[in-house]
Amino acid sequence: MTGKQVLLIEDEPNIIEAIRFILSRDGWAVATHSDGTTALEKVRAVAPNLIILDVMLPGRSGYDILRDLRDDAATKSLPVMMLTARGQSKDRELAERLGVTHFMTKPFSNAEVLENVRTLAGW
């Protein structure tokens, strides 16, 4: 696992820009997508090494997307790091039950994001 393709599914433009900046600086290729309904197609199209998934997305929630990813054999073991601004413990529990690889709450520290991305993507 040496690919450095990350797919960021997030709808806040400023946050997209921040994460893209952090990861690009570290040598990652960052694809972004900001709509929940078409997210799975984007995943198939991009075939990322790692997905950073927001929970509250227009059209479809991050949980639903995660469930579909885990149901699909192709993406069953794809590392998924979830980001949420609703930092309640039950959100975390739900995400872990659905098979999230890592769960982070907003606001996050840039270094932490970067480190988690590296770890999860096998670097």
């Binding site: 709808d11 806040e12 433009p13 400023n14 946050i15 820009e17 921040a18 994460i19 900046f21 952090i22 600086r25 900001s34 509250m56 227009p58 949420t84 601004a85 609703r86 930092g87 309640q88 709450t105 907003k106 606001p107 996050f108 520290s109 840039n110 270094a111």
Partner: protein
């Protein structure tokens, strides 16, 4: 001189004759031949039980002691029969209509079948009558003693007592045999009535015979007798006004209230018309009974040795003249007087005791399911028989305890005064509808207590219940409670004193308590039936009155089931009969239908009774029924209130459940809300933190640096706005907002809003019609402007048209001033229109909107506070919001 044994034999023969008469009469009655048993003459003669041994023997003694005062005892009943026959007629009518069995039953029925009143009257009657029965036993034994002494036999106290016990036992047997033969609902006793009629003849004949013998046989003719009277002490006796009035009143009251008199006067009455005969024949009988009283007394006082008992002159005078036959007749007369009184009084008392005391106790102490009708009948008969024995035993006991010492007349008057306590309630009950059960009980108890305190208890003498010191100083030294000088009023004749106080306070308490208490519905109904017993009785309604009957029925039905339903019912019935209007013919079918309808509200029995009262010649007036119906309506209302209350409780429970669910939902909502706030706050904070770290890291161009600083700045502003909105909303929702009303023009407000919303007029075209905006408003202008700003900013943010435009139209709709904000975008999809005013209901991508979705929620809160409203107008092409100004805000210029 006749032998004592012969006298006993004669007495036994006489008793056997009475048994035979009673038996024959009963047989005739059983065969249905009652006509000759029930003639006005028999009725009048049966009334003669008023004349007891007291009258037969005692009147002479009374005259010997107090002159003509004995006449008051005859005067009272005479006045009642002559002047107050209408009272008696009313009593008789009520007795027949209500199937009254005794005076206790009458009082009890009148006041709503009150058990306690029945008990009170029964107790008064028993207490008042017991001395009287003792008096009869005493007179019979005394008369035996007279013959015993005359025939040389030595009588001692034991013999007297033995004679009394034999007499009492014999009377008990006779009364049980003929008084409880059957349980007629009307409590009529043909055999007994016939026997006492015979006795009435015997005692009148006996007294007249003695009188004739005294006047013509001893005194030597009427003229000589009158001379004798003139020379006697009786002629010197002058009447005391107070006592005369008092005693006349007392005997009149007793005539109506004595249980035995009520029995023959009302209960045994077969035909109201008999009263017409009795109203002159009975006074005539009394006159004959009193005719020779004074001559016998005067001659007795002259002839008999000093110290001989004047109560026995009727016996001793013939004996002293050797007229044994006359003496025996006289003895039989006295015997008749005593026995007839005891028999009827015992029947009357036994009926009261068994019906009002024994049977209720028995019924309440027995499981209801176990009582068969046969059982009840047996129990009632047994109770009746035991009561008869009990009453006679009481009389005998009193005879033994009192020792037969007091003068006959004194005992009689005490009894009279006791039973007279029933009079106020009796008269009030049949003439005054306002009389109540509680008032009656209070009056009766007051009168009874006063009578006992001032007359009955002192009658036992200083050796008895009342000590001499208590009589002189009052109980516990309370002088104003002295039995014969209540409230310090001293020096009045004790009897008069007792009578005035007891009757006065009895009546006053009865009246006052009745005024201040309210009758129950059944009391009202019974009261109406008693007081208005003549109003509708006897003559059945004529056919021409059927329309009036229907009207009455309609009025009543309206009271019970409500006017709408009643009118519909009557109209339908009338239509069915081919009539117009609301008054159908009162046909059996219609009555049945109406009863069924009413039964739903008041119960079948009541409905039947009420309808029956109106259609079959009622005993009560329409007003009475309406009063009852009103009561019923009140009861219905009350019960429906109760139902409403239970419904209310159910509602409360449901509300609590709902509230609980709401709370749960709220806590979920609160979770969601907090979650939302968290999200809305964390999102800008995320950007701020992330870009701050990026800036801190350095390693970037100035452009990027400036750009990221700008993002931080924007997100910080967004955060501030959000906090402002949240605070604003919290204040608005809690109602803590202070409105600053002032005057301003709508046009100026809109200008200000457009500029404050930061509208780039090149991006968003705004169309207004200046002429419509010439409105002066008086409201919180800042808040209203805030709403306008929100709406304009929303149009700017969300209008997705290529060339966004916003039209602002001011117009009047349904009398209200409205301002419509309509853009030319796609608008809001129907599913979401209901949601847009909810908090955090941002529908589109948040990045572009830059708000937390609180704007419209705030707008709605503001308009609510101002007294207006804000709505989404569907189907206007684009997104359309209507702000409706409060009516108080507009003042056309």
């Amino acid at each position: 001189m006749i032998s004592f044994n012969l006298l006993i034999f004669v007495a036994l023969c006489y008793v056997a004759l009475l048994f035979t008469v009673a038996f024959v009469a009963e047989r005739h009655a059983a065969n249905g031949r009652v006509n000759w048993l029930r003639s006005p003459v028999i009725y009048t003669l049966s009334l003669s039980i008023y004349c007891t041994a007291w009258t037969f023997y005692g009147a002479v003694g009374y005259a010997a002691r107090s002159g003509l005062e004995f006449l008051t005892i005859y005067l009272g009943p005479t006045l009642v029969m002559v002047g107050w026959w209408w009272v008696v007629r009313k009593l008789v009518r009520i007795g027949r209509a209500q199937r009254i069995t005794s005076i206790a039953d009458l009082i009890s029925s009148r006041f709503g079948k009150s058990t306690s009143l029945g008990v009170i009257v029964t107790v008064i009657a028993v207490v008042g009558t017991t001395p009287y029965i003792a008096l009869q036993l005493q007179s019979v034994t005394l008369s035996f003693a007279v013959f015993a002494q005359g025939s040389g036999q030595v009588w001692v106290a034991e013999d007297l007592n033995a004679a009394a016990i034999w007499v009492a036992a014999g009377l008990a047997v006779f009364t049980i045999l003929f008084g409880t033969r059957n349980l007629d609902v009307n409590e009529r006793h043909h055999g007994v009535v016939m026997a006492i009629a015979v006795e009435a003849v015997v005692k009148l004949c006996a007294l007249l015979a003695v009188g004739i013998f005294v006047v013509w046989g001893i005194a030597g003719g009427p003229a000589a007798t009158l001379d004798m009277i003139d020379q006697s002490a009786i002629s010197e006796w002058s009447p005391v006004g107070g006592r005369w009035v008092g005693l006349t009143f007392l005997s009149a009251a007793a005539f109506l209230c004595l249980p035995r008199m009520f029995q023959v006067l009302v209960v045994e009455n077969a035909d109201e018309k008999h009263l017409a005969t009795a109203s002159w024949a009975f006074p005539a009988y009394l006159m004959l009974m009193s005719l020779f009283v004074v001559p016998i007394a005067v001659v007795g006082l002259n002839l008999m040795p000093p110290g001989s008992n004047p109560d026995l002159f009727v016996l001793t005078l013939p004996l002293s003249q050797g007229q044994d036959g006359l003496a025996v007749l006289s003895f039989l007369g006295g015997f008749s007087s005593a026995t007839s009184m005891v028999i009827v009084a015992t029947i009357a008392l036994a009926t009261m005791v068994s019906n009002h005391i024994v049977v209720p106790i028995w019924l309440s102490s027995t499981a209801r399911g176990a009582t068969m009708s046969g059982d009840v009948r047996y129990v009632v008969l047994l109770a009746r028989r035991m009561s008869i024995a009990g009453v006679l035993a009481l009389g005998y006991a009193y005879f033994r305890v009192s020792g037969g010492g007091a003068a006959l007349a004194a005992i009689g008057l005490i009894s009279f005064a006791g039973v007279a306590q029933v009079l106020p309630v009796l008269l009030g009950g049949i003439f005054w509808r306002g009389a109540t059960r509680i008032g009656a009980a209070a009056g009766l108890l007051t009168g009874f207590a006063l009578w006992a305190w001032t007359l009955f208890l002192p009658s036992f003498g200083s050796e008895g219940i009342m000590s001499a010191s208590m009589m002189a100083q009052g109980p516990f030294g309370l002088g104003w409670l002295r039995p014969q000088a209540l409230f310090g009023i001293d020096g009045i004749d004790p009897l008069l004193h007792a009578l005035v106080w007891s009757m006065l306070l009895n009546s006053v308490v009865f009246f006052v308590v009745s005024i201040f208490t309210f009758p129950t519905p059944i009391e009202r109904l019974q009261g109406a039936q008693f007081v208005n017993v003549f109003a509708h009785s006897s003559s059945p309604r004529a056919a021409t009155q059927s329309a009036a009957g229907a009207e009455d029925l309609l009025i009543m039905a309206q009271r019970i089931i409500g006017s709408g339903q009643a009118q519909a019912l009557f109209q339908a019935a009338a239509q069915k009969q081919g009539k117009e209007g609301y008054l159908p013919d009162v046909t059996p079918e219609f009555i049945e239908r109406l009863e069924r309808e009413l039964a739903g509200s008041v119960g079948a029995a009541t409905a039947h009774a009420m309808v029956g009262q109106l259609t079959q010649g009622a005993n009560v007036s329409v007003q009475d029924l309406i009063a009852v119906a009103d009561e019923a309506a009140q009861i219905l209302e009350y019960s429906s209130q109760l139902e409403a209350k239970s419904a209310e409780q159910e509602n409360t429970a449901r509300a609590l459940r709902d509230a609980n669910e709401k709370l749960t939902a709220l806590s979920i909502q609160k979770d969601a809300f907090l979650s939302q706030i968290s999200h809305e706050l964390r999102t800008p904070m995320t950007s701020i933190r992330s870009f701050s770290e990026i800036l801190r890291d350095g390693e970037m161009g100035a452009d990027e640096q400036a750009r990221y600083a700008g993002i931080i700045h924007d997100e910080a502003l967004r955060l501030t706005r959000l906090l402002d909105d949240l605070l604003d909303l919290a204040v608005l929702e809690n109602g803590q907002v202070q409105l600053n009303n002032s005057e301003g023009s709508l046009r100026g407000l809109l200008d200000r809003a457009i500029s404050a919303a930061g509208v780039d007029l090149g991006e968003l075209g705004i169309h207004r019609r200046a002429a419509d905006e010439q409105l002066t408003l008086f409201t919180d202008l800042d808040r209203l402007t805030q709403v306008f700003i929100n709406l304009i900013a929303n149009a700017q943010k969300y209008c997705d048209a290529e060339k966004p435009e916003l039209r602002i139209r001011v117009r009047r709709v349904d009398g209200a001033q409205v301002i419509d904000f309509t853009d030319n975008g796609r608008g809001i999809v129907a599913d979401h229109q209901a949601l847009i005013f909810a908090k955090f209901s941002r529908l589109t991508d948040s990045g572009k909107a830059g708000g937390a979705g609180l704007g419209l929620a705030i707008c709605r809160e503001i308009m609510g506070r101002l007294g207006g409203q804000i709505d989404y107008l569907p189907g206007q092409g684009g997104a359309a919001f209507r702000v409706t100004l409060p009516a108080t805000a507009t003042r056309p210029r």
